[in-house]
């Protein structure tokens, strides 16, 4: 049974349900809905609110992440370039080879011009200079206009020196050990220790008496090719014990180490010999050798030096 207060027909029900406030409210709701569909004011309002509060929100999301990566990349590159430029500037401003080499870091090499290297080269004692590159060879590549730059870098415990042409082909290459580095500058090229401790002489070490006996039998021209300045050796403190030939050929020069027995212990005097002359000695020391370079010889040189 419906309650007595319920309208009994549609007309009564409509009359009871009608009210001005209700009608206005309904119209307002419809107006709001229709105007939103038509003018999208909710989207506009929300959008404007968000735009107004934009600066207070976090820089998150992929676009900002990319921006941060770009920033990291830029900073990393700047650091790399700065390090490089600093190294280059220091190398350019170095007034001596030891100063330049001392400024080299383990991860950063230095490139200098051929002209600058020549200047530094002329400032080191000739005995040391000869252990690096032959002046004649340097004159030759200068005259050929093939020599452009010099690159130096730390390699393990040594310093590699590359004479380069414009296309970065190595015209010649040599290394300097830390011990040689210590002596680079003013003293004789002397390294403390024994020859058999130096890997570059391994397998090519001969007793000094045999070496000098063989050398004595050769023509003066060959003797000069092997030891250009024997007087330095003669003046050195101690007695020669053994002589070793390096496994590297550099612009037709081979490094020769003479191990001396001195009151301070074993020391190695370094000098350079002409490859052809050293070969004559080696042939006499080891008759089984048939022609240069030997099977065991490990020869390193630049791509353009063939």
């Amino acid at each position: 049974m419906p309650a007595w207060s319920q309208p009994q027909d549609v007309k009564t029900w409509m009359l009871q349900g009608w009210s001005f406030r209700g009608a206005v409210l309904l119209l307002a709701v419809f107006a709001i809905l229709i105007s939103e569909v038509r003018f999208s004011w909710v989207e506009v309002l929300v959008g404007r609110y968000l735009a107004a509060t934009n600066s207070h929100r976090p820089e998150s999301g992929s676009v900002w992440e990319r921006g941060r990566l770009k920033q990291v990349a830029t900073q990393t590159l700047e650091q790399m370039v700065t390090r490089q430029l600093t190294a280059q500037r220091e190398a350019r401003e170095a007034t001596s080879l030891p100063e330049l080499i001392g400024g080299l870091s383990a991860s950063q090499g230095a490139m200098i011009s051929a002209v600058h290297f020549k200047t530094l080269y002329t400032r080191i004692p000739p005995t040391i200079a000869r252990t690096l590159f032959s002046p004649i060879f340097m004159l030759r590549i200068s005259a050929e206009r093939s020599w452009d730059r010099v690159y130096m870098e730390r390699e393990n415990e040594q310093v590699g020196i590359y004479l380069l042409d414009r296309s970065n082909n190595v015209l010649s290459y040599t290394t300097l050990s830390e011990q040689q580095l210590m002596s680079t500058g003013t003293e004789q090229p002397v390294v403390s220790g024994a020859l058999d401790e130096q890997p570059e002489f391994s397998g090519r070490i001969y007793p000094a008496d045999r070496f000098f006996m063989v050398l004595d039998t050769l023509p003066p021209e060959t003797q000069r090719g092997v030891l250009a300045q024997p007087d330095i050796l003669l003046a050195a403190e101690g007695i020669p014990v053994c002589v070793g030939f390096s496994d590297e050929v550099n612009a037709d020069l081979i490094r020769i180490g003479v191990e001396m027995d001195t009151p301070q212990g074993r020391q190695i005097l370094l000098t350079m010999g002409q490859e052809w002359a050293v070969w004559q000695v080696r042939r006499l020391l080891e008759p089984r050798l048939s022609g240069p370079p030997s099977r065991k010889q490990h020869r390193r040189f630049g791509g353009g030096d063939r």
Binding site: W13, G47, R57, L77
Partner: protein
């Protein structure tokens, strides 16, 4: 009570219910808004700054730009073809000019389908919403993410003009094949500017952003054309073009850029370059820092390499009776017959061409660099070098080709057999090498020891793992084509090794040099012994297992060695002229053997050497003949191939050997 009254009552209740639901929804939305707005991302201003990352550019050896990474090219809206604008709007958001970031009707429809039609998901994102998603959000699917994306879209709409939004959108959408933005896409696919796109081209491009990989027109032209038809139909529906224009554009040929594919053939090369760069400079610097990378790639040589490999593999497939149809039915992880080619400059080590497979986009696995394929007899030069060096043998010394059984401690004896399964008796070392006689190689490795072989290989630059077992001499340990090409380059240069490299110089955007490659050479082998080996390797090409090279018309002085592995899993040919060393490998990734229709195995001479010959013929076209440099202590002698004895002019088929003066 009358029925209509009841209906009105129900209607009244329904109105209250709806009003309540709407009110609750409004409250819910407001709460969601409060939650979502909390850590909504900041929108950059101007919005176009998203494209200002400097590009990393990669150049070939002759200075041509071969790849640009990042640094998206921004094309002004006025400079983009109008038909493309219409096509992209018709496809992605045909009410773009009308809405304020949200297409309400489409959203309600999509919501209805998503909620009430299980298994179906309908997208309704406007271009602004897509832009918001691309700029700030991951591809994670969640209602909150979607709502936040909508809020950002509303902000973008409130802050920027429609033209700004559209311009930003078309300059950052991915079209596939590494092309982002319409400018790059137009150049990549059609080799033209975005302003010159025709309706046919524009409709094809407008269909790609939906799924750039699935609709890649280079790889799936049919799918791309079908998608193009959808785009054209939507343009007709939106009243942008007539039905006839759509029909005409749909029927017209697409004319994809001819060099489009060949532009990308260097992808295996670029893959190697990118990996090196990432290792040296970190991915951030490579992709966001803007580098100028000058490589060693010779574009023309690279194209020759790609063409030679493609044609060679097609020929091999025909020989094997493998049709394209049968390849389509291969298992998903089976890439079919593959190949690799690497060419290295002898006097520098510069990698001039590198192809790591048939199609980088099909399989980016770079076979040119992976060291998992056995070289077979291609490894014998290291054995013979060790033998000449350590055993003082000469190419004229006599060995006996006969069944061998070499005792191995704690294991059954090693009994390698010849490829031909026949034995020819006595023969000189050079002949054994030229004909790749395994029994002689086995005797030699037993005499010299596997360590000597490994020592020679290591000096030449083989870095892959090798174990000191006899079979190492027959190439039973995996190496890469790059290693082989580089190691053989050491033979070509008379024993001087130049480490391979592909990056000459790296600069930053300002042109400041970050890195330069210094071309170093190290003498690792004796020049005279190396020459003896090169002379034997030249015999392989002139009269031995690789003589197909001469039959294919390659006439320059050259030397090389074939390689075939058990069950014909791998076919190799590595060879060189005095200037260029090239290694070619063919085989299946999963190691199925290669046999022709008659069941005869495909050897290195049959499978890889023809590819080598074709490539080298084109790569050295116009180059004057240049002999390998003969060391002063080398002399030549004609000997009997069986006895090694000196022969006179009256003897038939003598063999010329290079000997060293005592």
């Amino acid at each position: 009570m009358i029925v209509s009254l009841r209906l009105f009552r129900v209607a009244g209740a329904l109105v209250y219910l709806i009003a309540t639901i709407v009110a609750l929804a409004a409250v819910g939305l407001f709460c969601l808004f409060l939650v979502a707005v909390k850590d909504l991302p900041r929108v950059p201003e101007p919005i176009g700054r998203i494209n200002d990352t400097p590009a990393t550019e990669i150049f070939s050896a002759d200075g041509r730009r071969i790849l640009t990474i990042g640094g998206r090219e921004t094309v002004a809206l006025d400079d983009v073809s109008y038909v493309f604008i219409q096509a992209i709007l018709a496809t992605e958001d045909h009410r773009f000019w009308e809405h304020r970031g949200l297409n309400k009707l489409r959203t309600v429809k999509a919501l209805w389908i998503t909620l009430f039609e299980p298994g179906k998901i309908q997208g309704a994102s406007t271009i602004t919403q897509q832009l918001a998603k691309n700029l700030f959000f991951s591809f994670e699917r969640s209602y909150l993410r979607k709502f936040r994306e909508l809020l950002v879209a509303l902000q973008i709409e409130a802050r920027f003009s429609k033209r700004e939004i559209l311009e930003t959108y078309i300059n950052q959408i991915p079209f596939g094949v590494g092309a982002y933005g319409i400018g790059e896409a137009a150049r990549t696919f059609f080799g033209k500017s975005a302003g010159a796109l025709t309706l046919t081209e524009a409709s094809l491009l407008a269909g790609l952003p939906k799924s750039p990989t699935r609709y890649n027109p280079f790889r799936y032209p049919e799918r791309a054309r079908a998608r193009q038809q959808v785009v054209l139909q939507r343009m007709v529906t939106a009243g942008m073009i007539s039905h006839d224009a759509a029909m005409e554009a749909g029927a017209a040929s697409v004319g994809l850029r001819a060099q489009g594919r060949s532009l990308r053939v260097d992808s295996y090369f670029l893959d190697a370059v990118m990996k090196t760069l990432e290792e040296t400079y970190s991915p951030e610097v490579v992709y966001h820092g803007g580098l100028r990378v000058y490589t060693t790639l010779d574009v023309q040589m690279q194209q020759h390499a790609e063409a030679a490999l493609q044609q060679g593999i097609t020929g091999l497939k025909a020989l094997m009776g493998v049709t394209n149809g049968s390849e389509d039915t291969l298992a998903e992880d089976d890439n079919g017959l593959q190949g690799a080619l690497v060419a290295v400059a002898v006097n520098t080590g510069a990698v001039k061409a590198l192809v790591g497979g048939r199609d980088f986009f099909q399989t980016p696995y770079n076979r040119a660099l992976k060291n998992n394929r056995q070289p077979g007899s291609g490894f014998k030069p290291f054995l013979y070098y060790g033998v000449l060096e350590s055993l003082y043998k000469t190419p004229a010394d006599v060995m006996v080709d006969e069944p061998v059984s070499i005792p191995v401690a704690g294991k059954p004896p090693w009994k390698p057999r010849n490829f031909k399964r026949t034995y020819e008796g006595p023969m000189v070392v050079k002949k054994a090498f030229m004909e790749s006689v395994n029994t002689v190689a086995a005797q030699l490795v037993a005499a010299v020891g596997p360590d000597a072989v490994i020592h020679a290989a290591r000096r030449c630059g083989i870095t892959s793992p090798l174990r000191p077992v006899y079979s190492v001499a027959l190439g039973t340990f995996g190496v890469s084509p790059l290693e082989m090409a580089s190691a053989y380059a050491g033979f070509a240069s008379g024993g001087v090794r130049h480490p391979p490299f592909w990056i000459r110089r790296v600069e930053d955007v300002g042109g400041r040099v970050l890195e330069e490659h210094i071309i170093t050479g190290e003498r690792v082998l004796d020049e005279s012994i190396t020459y003896q080996l090169v002379d034997m390797m030249a015999g392989v090409i002139d009269e031995g297992t690789g003589n197909v090279v001469r039959k294919r018309g390659f006439t320059l002085p050259a030397a090389g060695k074939t390689g075939t592995t058990n069950d014909f899993n791998d076919a190799w040919f590595t060879g060189f002229t005095p200037n260029l060393s090239t290694s070619v490998w063919v085989g299946f990734d999963r190691g199925q053997g290669m046999r022709d229709k008659n069941g005869v195995g495909i050897t290195g001479g049959r499978g890889a050497a023809p590819i080598w010959a074709q490539f080298m013929r084109q790569a050295t076209d116009g180059e004057p003949p240049r002999d390998f440099r003969v060391p002063a202590d080398i002399y030549f002698k004609k000997v009997n191939p069986e006895t090694g004895a000196s022969v006179g002019f009256w003897n038939r088929n003598p063999i010329s050997v290079a000997l060293r003066k005592k």
